[in-house]
Structure formats: C-alpha cells, structure tokens
Subunit: 404 residues, 2 copies
Amino acid sequence: MEYDKILSAIVRENKKKILLLVLDGIGGIPHKITGKTELETAKTPQLDRFAEEGSCGTMTPVLKGITPGSGPGHISLFGYDPVETQIGRGTLECLGIGMDLAKNDIAIRGNFAAIDGNSIVTDRRAGRISTEENKKLVSLISGKIKELSGVKIHLQTVKEHRCAIVLKGEGLNPGVSENDPQKEGLPLKPLEALDKDSEKTAAVLREFEKRVADILKDAGSKAKIILLRGISRLPHIPTFKEKYKLDAVCIASYPMYKGVSKVAGMDIAEAGETVEDEFRTLEEIYNRYNFFFMHIKKTDSYGEDGNFRSKVKIIEDIDSKIWQLRKMDFESIAITGDHSTPAVMKGHSWHPVPLIIKSPNAIPDGVKNFTERECSKGILGNIYSKELMYLLLACALKLDKFGA
Amino acid sequence: MEYDKILSAIVRENKKKILLLVLDGIGGIPHKITGKTELETAKTPQLDRFAEEGSCGTMTPVLKGITPGSGPGHISLFGYDPVETQIGRGTLECLGIGMDLAKNDIAIRGNFAAIDGNSIVTDRRAGRISTEENKKLVSLISGKIKELSGVKIHLQTVKEHRCAIVLKGEGLNPGVSENDPQKEGLPLKPLEALDKDSEKTAAVLREFEKRVADILKDAGSKAKIILLRGISRLPHIPTFKEKYKLDAVCIASYPMYKGVSKVAGMDIAEAGETVEDEFRTLEEIYNRYNFFFMHIKKTDSYGEDGNFRSKVKIIEDIDSKIWQLRKMDFESIAITGDHSTPAVMKGHSWHPVPLIIKSPNAIPDGVKNFTERECSKGILGNIYSKELMYLLLACALKLDKFGA
C-alpha cells in the first residue's frame, strides 16, 4: 500500500481514543416488495443522529464488485491491503472455531473423506458424516496422536465432515502441497514440501496422514482419511502497535473476529456473548486502550438466513443501545460494516457499506440517515475499507504532516 | 503512476491555454459556533459563478487522511505522484528561502547547535539563537568558507537557529548520512557516504563541519557546530514541456512555490507581492505561455494563524478580483487548493479541497457555490490532486484517444 511508504514517518502517539464499530454484514439491497433495504426499513433514531453529526460516505470492502469473506473484510478495515495480505484458509478455519494459534503454528482445514484400497478418493466428504460422528473420530484420533517428531498436533471438529488441525513446534513452515485431489475418482496427492524450509512440516503431515489412515481403517466409519487443505499460518504483518502506535483491543463475541484481531496484534477482551455484554465491556476497559474494535455479528447472521425482518429487528435493537457510546469520549468513531449481507441475497455481497465518521474534526454533511443510499450522498464519497483507518487516525490527530 | 505508461503516446500540442489557480490552504472545517467553513461564511459571487458554470468536485491532495506539506501538495497538483516524487527536506528549505538551486546541486538544512568538548550535542538549537545572531554567524562563516575541494558553498540564514546550505560542483550526490544525533546528550554522528557516488559530497561535508567548528569555537556564540540534515537535491522528474508539451509559467509571490515550479521546469514570472500584482502579471504574460500556475498564499497564512475572520476576508478580496480571468481566453480553468488549512485547526489538514473545472468541455452540474460541502456534490466526485492535470489537459483537448 502507498501508505506503507510514508506512515512510519508521520504516525504519532497521543491519548485520544478511536472506536471502530463494525456491524457485520450491515448493508443490504431493497426488498422486492417494499423497495427498501434493511437499514431503510428499520427505525434508527440513534444511528441517524450519529449520521447527522458526522461525515458520511460508503465503503467498498475490497474492490468494486468483489464480495469479501470475513478475512479480507476485516483485514481491510484494519488498514492492510486485503489483496496483499491474504489469510490462508486453514488459518481462517482454525481462527473461526477459536483454536489457539501462535505466530509460527501451522493451521490446516481437514475433510474427513472416503478412499478405496488403492488410495483413490471415492467421496471427498465421506458421505457428509454427522458432526456427532466427526466428534467421535476426532476424539479417537486425538487420543492416539498427540505428537509426531516433536511437533504437537491439535485436532478439532468444525462441522459435518470438516475439522481443523494445528501443528505446534520448531522449524515448521507452511509450504506444503495438499493431498486433496479436488475431484473424486483420483488418487490422494502426495504431501510435498514446496520449499526447503517446509520439509519438516511435510514429513510430519505425511506421518499424520498415514497414522490417521491406520486408525480409521477399522473405526467403522465411512471416513478413512483426512484431506489436508489450506496449509498456512498467520500472516506476518506489523501489529497495530508497530504500524499505528495504538494500544488496540478487540471486543467481539465470535472466535473468527477475535482471531483476525489477534493477527493484527490486538488484545482480545472477554466480551461475553450479547450486544449488551459488548457495550458493558467497552465501558469497563475504556481507560486501558486507545483503539477499540467492536464487532457485532447478528446483523450478518440474519442476512445469511435471508431473514429480512429479523435483520431489521436486530438493527433496531442495536440502535436502542448505541446511545451508550456517548458516555465515553472518543475522538474518532466509525460506524460501518465489513461487507453487505442483503437478506434478499442470503449471503455476503459486494455492495458498498454505509459509513459514519464522527469526530470534532469531521465535517457534518447534511446526511440525516444511516442508510446505503443516504450515506452515498455524504462528503466522504465512496472510499475503500483499507483507507478508513487513516481517516480515523487523522481525525484523532495522530498523523503528522507529510513533507514540509 | 498509471498515466506515465500512456501519456507520451497521446499528449499533443495545441495553442489552447490552461490556468491552474491555487488558493493555498483554501479548504476549512466548520466554525464551532456558526457551523460554517470559511468558504461558506465568505460572500463569493464570482467564485460561485465559476462553480455554476463549471464542473465541481473535491480533491484529496495525497491520500485519504494524509495532511500534505507544500511540497507534496504541489507535486501532486502538477500531475506527479507525491509518494513517488518526494522532495527532500534540505531542498524544500533552500527553495523556501529562494536560494538558487540547479539540477545537481546538493541542498541541506542546517541547525546551529551547541556541543561540548567531547562532541556531545548539548543543545540541538543552540538555545534557539536569534535570527540576528544567525545572520552574523552566517556572514562570518561565508566570509571564510567559499569553496572546499572545488565545491562552492552557499550558506544562508533561514530563521532563529535554522540555516540552509547549497553545494555546487561536479560529481556531487546526496547519499550522505546526517550528523544530527536527533537527541541531545549524544555525540555528533559521522557524515558518511551511503553509496560510492556520494563519497565526494561526504568528504566535502566533513571538511565543512570541521572548518565551521574551528570558526565558531571563538565566535562568542552558543552555537558551536551546524547539524546537517535533509541532504538532498531536486528530484529528477520530467518537465512540463517533456511530460505535457506545455509552455508553463509560475505566477507566485512566495519562494517555495516558485521553487517547486522550477522542479517541474516552469518559467518563473516576476509576479510581485500582492494578489493585484499576480493578476496583472497573468495578463501581461498571457500571450507567451499555454499553461499558467497561479498561486495565492494568503488564504493559507490566515488559516495557519487561526484567523478565521481574516481568512474569510481574503477569500472575499480574491473573489472581488477574479472577474479579471474573464478578460482572457482559457480553455481549461481549475480553481482549487493544494490542501485545506482550517482556521479552526490552525494548520494544514487532510480534508479534501473544493474544485471547479471551467471549460467549454466540462459539464456544469448544478453546484452553485464554491464550498467544501457544495462541491462534494459535484459531477467530478472526489478525485486525487495528481489526477487534476489530466482533466485539465483533456478539457483543453490536448490528449488524443488512447488505443484505437
């Protein structure tokens, strides 16, 4: 990113506080009957008041037309380039279920799969075994394989045929090819080191594959093997402290968002489960940090379910609590989303998300409603999510002049 | 920049004239009581008429959230990338006080500083000596050091403890480390060549440092040394003639802006001191050029002082003179700023600046006021300053079709 070339020379510390409030999947598209989005349907007097007081705009999460997953959605909100800084699939899977993942650990997605006597993959999902059966197999394997060549192996159930694996040990690197042939009817692929530094990892994974096959042979399940995919580790990127000189904390209830925040070196607060818990946590730890990433998940979940009405309701519920932010003194507040999840589309989408920046140094622009279409008329225009952090830092007077 | 890859193939000469009128630091943020910016407070019927006739928008000088100094602010207005093309601190200092600086000269910022007998820097500003005392020391040193190893040395007072130094001679390069330890209580750092081509410069500067110390030893001043900083030279970039096939001239009253224009190969007009002088100069030299960069400084100065009322007044004063542009026939006119200098913030800021492009080939967009918030609704949207030149060239029909 262009910013990387100049940031270290201009970023400065001060005590002013920044809040990045992310309403996951907040954006929508109009309901086919009413012609209104979720935000346009919801009654949101508090959010609207923030819109009226702040500068408004919209944000494109990654690139125009690109629908982000949670990884790129948040990496960009944190001011990193989501195309340059990609988080591996295995890493996201492990973060998503809250597995402990340190800087150099290897993270892997696993599929329980069926093979025949000639190592031909006959079903890449082993008949989509139940989560219950998955748990039994994970317990069986975990009991028998704890360590291979001095490398600790952690295996955990995700869902149905999916599991996640973390390797912890010295000298591990993620450059290993997957054993998944991608299509059924093809033989298992060899787990091969793609570079010299990854040879140990490859050897450990080959041994793991073999041991798992031995264990599953007579376990009475369709699953006979684990396909190892997305072999990766946490991206090595500068932390918030290094990059922005910020003492940053994450307030989130879902493991995925805590995980991505850890990638950026944030502390992870004990935030509880509910939106109430999160607001309470924010107030409790307010004195200890100067950057707060607060993540509310439910807006996204109802969008994914296609539950327009519940998404509207949760938006109104959040709105009723948002006055609590006024109890504290933030120099910059952003209220936005990581991406849109239109209930109409039942999934993430590429549509820009609405954005409010409230700060004594932001220009109110006459926008009076926190909706996609009203915010698009705001003075911030359409920015990229990866630019937001720099506006928040600027509004909190944490960036010196560039050049004399 | 992307433009560099295609520009030479499409830029063409014609006689149409372009005016880039820069009102330094023009943008503001709302006054805490009135809720209006300087431009919103001022009565500007002439500027508003231009807004009504032209296309409007806002411009981000460098990157979102980044506050530019005068160097990057203008480099980008001239169509160069301000991150790629950075002007060294020494170069800016020398340009700022109008020192003669040729393409390969070395430019340096100097601090008169105090050291003890062990070359420990005890005061990096020598007690912030007066400008008067600085002038005496400069005169003393200049009398005794005119040339070292065939390299001419030019020393000039800036202000208080600050001076500027230009080296002129063969075989000079700017890759020399600074002798400033950055903190007091530390020893002077060695002036070392960072590359082979800079060894001569390093040797000359070491000799200069030593000779200065000898001279200052018994000069009765707290200043005992000159800290040499920002060792640099003019960036080697294509001129306006080479890049755009334009005969360009700068009409400015302050040395800094003349200097930056020289970097871009512009002629420098004798523009006088006042806004009246500048308008008169524009008319006088109108026939001799096809690109005019006209720079008005006072808007920035009052912003820096936090003098809201005077900034409003100078805006109204400029407005009363701007009808004179109508006496001439420009195919493209841009009226804008290099950055914002909100009086409320008493300094430069990152906020986008308002922009008008008036041309028979620009689309009027219904914006009727030259203000930050009205222009943000204009058809140009929010562009980067480095893109402006290409719009001006296009509106003056100086860019051919790209690709068949």
